[in-house]
């Protein structure tokens, strides 16, 4: 099995969670999210992000507003909706469960 591929699959699974985490602190626009996710080495190619953002928006978890920018055309700022916050809470719990499960597996504590 290809290590890189497995790692990519793992990252893919939690990418939505990461986006929501980022947006839970403050509204931001796509490039900011990309910058953070790239630093965290969560994404390799930037194109990955856009279908996700659009889908989350269409599912009602994200909203956006246009903001004027000093450097160019208006930017699309995404923010969490109330629904998105609830969804994020669910994901938070799911993540803790997941971490616990992994830890248990690692420590052979079952």
């Amino acid at each position: 099995m290809n290590l890189e591929n497995t790692k990519a699959q793992m990252r893919k699974g939690i990418l939505e969670y990461c986006i929501l985490l980022n947006l839970s602190r403050k509204p931001s626009y796509a490039s900011d999210i990309i910058a953070e996710l790239k630093t965290a080495q969560m994404i390799v190619v930037e194109g990955t992000l856009y279908p996700l953002l659009t889908r989350l928006k269409n599912d009602g978890y994200l909203g956006y507003r246009w903001e004027e920018s000093l450097q160019g055309p208006p930017r699309k700022y995404y923010e969490l909706t109330e629904e998105g916050r609830l969804f994020l809470n669910e994901l938070d719990m799911a993540w803790s469960d997941l971490v616990d499960a992994i830890n248990q597996l690692k420590n052979n504590n079952l």
């Binding site: 893919k12 699974g13 990418l15 939505e16 796509a30 490039s31 990309i34 390799v44 190619v45 930037e46 194109g47 990955t48 856009y50 279908p51 996700l52 953002l53 659009t54 889908r55 269409n58 450097q71 160019g72 055309p73 699309k76």
Partner: protein
């Protein structure tokens, strides 16, 4: 120096190199296609475009620099190919398979017997190469020797799949009905997208650029139609090319058995060697074959290129065929000059033979035409005839008989053989090989209706002139059939050659004079036709 375009990516203007634009345009097109079916495609693509715009802005600080192809490649690297965008929530199977850009014809170096042509064709048509090989071998055995030529042409012009990318292209997507319809759908999709762009861009783009887009839409529609026509045209070209090559080859080499499709008279090459020496003839055929064949091969090549869409910009192919064609022309000229020079000099060989007879009257008779059953009825070239006797070919022609006054008291016969040749010696020997037969029995002088050249002799404008010398006060009788070979005999009655047969003529000091005598016994009733 490079051409640049001015483009608008999500509201910002950039200058971009020609090649960089092509690349970027294709990339965005791929993204469009990738999300083509999804309802929110437009939004995703717009977001991606605005990010691309942002990335370019970071690289072109003062807004004056031109975006290069390297920068476009870098941006594609950052954004990633659409295939990598697969949405996490969707099942893996839905991830799009990388699109092979149509299948191309290559020669397969990994699986080959000769040049890998058959395995390449097999990959193209998704058939086991064995089948293609069998078809080729069968064609050869069934007499379609031209398939060897086709193989050689393909070997020369089809590029070898040298690297992995080309091997993938070679195996590419299957060419079947589904795919063809898919390709057409893609074309339509492109047309739609362009039209869509045209409409949505209206709000930003003014004046000329709008016209450009209208042009793009039109071009896509025309392009889609053209592609179909190009393939049909290619098939027609290949068909014409190959059939003409077959016709050419057949008429040049096996003309005798060929049945009519040939652009040449089907007997011409067969007899041509009777008129031109073998060496010259060979050069002539090679020259003719090249001058006509090369354009035909190029036609077929162009057709295959159009059908299979393989790229072969190897200038060697064009240059070498041009070279061969020019050589063909040179050979034709050379052969013609050489052929003509065969007729440069004239020489005559003269034989004078006494005709010993006790009679004062000589009966002139045309002998039996022993070749009448063997003459080729198709050929009558200025009196020249061809007789095929037991597979051997002879050139025949009529002698010309004239009657003049003898300086002596005896009858005599002068046979002048005349021929042309490259030089005087050749002309002389050509004149000497002419055979002409006559016979004298008592007072009956029989002329053969033909003079003949030995087998395999070429035509060198050979002529035979026979002078019958008649002493004064002696008489000749011209048999009716003699009129076919006598030529311009002077007589005091000023009678035409055609009327002189069946009559007695006496040599007087002024010339031949009609003698009043009754029809001679040599005229058998069945021979009186005229």
């Amino acid at each position: 120096m490079k051409k640049t375009f001015t483009i608008n990516i999500s509201g910002t203007v950039f200058h971009i190199d020609d090649d960089a634009y092509e690349k970027l345009n294709y990339y965005i097109l791929q993204i469009n296609r990738h999300f083509g079916n999804e309802a929110d495609a437009k939004e995703i693509v717009e977001d991606i475009e605005s990010r691309i715009s942002e990335l370019f802005q970071e690289r072109v600080k003062d807004g004056k620099e031109v975006i290069t192809i390297a920068q476009v490649e870098e941006i594609i690297q950052i954004m990633g190919m659409p295939e990598a965008f697969a949405d996490t929530n969707e099942p893996e199977v839905k991830a799009k398979i990388p699109r092979a850009r149509g299948r191309k014809l290559y020669r397969d170096p990994d699986d080959r017997v000769l040049g890998g042509v058959c395995s390449g064709l097999g990959a193209f048509f998704n058939l086991d190469p064995i089948i293609i090989r069998l078809i080729f071998v069968l064609l050869v055995f069934l007499g379609a020797g031209s398939s060897i030529i086709i193989y050689l042409i393909l070997w020369i012009v089809v590029p070898k799949a040298a690297n992995t990318a080309q091997r993938l292209e070679m195996k590419g997507e299957e060419v079947n009905i589904t795919n063809i319809s898919k390709t057409i759908k893609e074309e339509i999709q492109d047309v739609k997208e362009n039209y869509e762009n045209f409409r949505t861009n209206k709000s930003y783009i003014r004046g000329r650029e709008r016209l450009d887009d209208a042009g793009n839409v039109a071009m896509s529609v025309i392009g889609a139609i053209l592609k179909i026509f190009v393939v049909i045209f290619g098939i027609v070209l290949v068909a014409i090319g190959i059939f003409s090559i077959i016709a050419l080859v057949t008429s040049l080499f096996v003309s005798g058995e060929f049945i009519g499709v040939s652009p040449f008279s089907n007997h011409l090459p067969h007899y041509f060697d009777l008129f031109v020496t073998n060496g010259t003839l060979t050069w002539f055929w090679i020259g003719l074959g090249l001058t006509i064949g090369i354009p035909l091969i190029m036609l077929a090549y162009l057709g295959t290129k159009l059908i299979f869409r393989f790229k072969s910009n190897n200038p060697a192919i064009g240059l070498s065929s041009l070279g061969l064609w020019v050589i063909g022309i040179i050979l034709l000229v050379f052969a013609s000059v050489r052929g003509v020079s065969e007729f440069k000099s004239v020489s005559t060989s003269t034989k004078q033979e006494p005709l010993i007879t006790k009679s004062d009257t000589l009966y002139l008779k045309l002998g039996n035409d022993e070749f009448s059953d063997y003459l080729d009825s198709n050929i009558d070239f200025d009196g020249l005839r061809i007789a095929s006797v037991n597979g051997k070919q002879f050139l025949l022609n009529k002698p010309r008989v004239n009657i003049v006054k003898s300086e002596t008291n005896d009858f005599s016969l002068v046979i002048k053989s005349k021929a042309r040749g490259y030089d005087l010696d050749k002309a002389q020997s050509n004149a000497r090989e002419i055979t002409y037969k006559y016979s004298l029995q008592d007072s009956l002088l029989t002329f053969q209706p033909w003079f003949m050249l030995p087998e395999k002799s070429k035509w060198h404008k050979q002529e035979v002139e026979i002078l019958l010398k008649v002493p004064e006060n002696k008489t000749i009788y011209l048999n009716n059939e003699m009129v076919t070979i006598i030529h311009d005999i002077e007589n005091t009655s000023n009678m035409w050659d055609g009327d002189m047969g069946g009559k007695y003529w006496t040599m007087k000091p002024d010339g031949l004079e009609l003698a009043q005598r009754k029809t001679a016994i040599v005229e058998t009733p069945k021979k009186i036709k005229k």
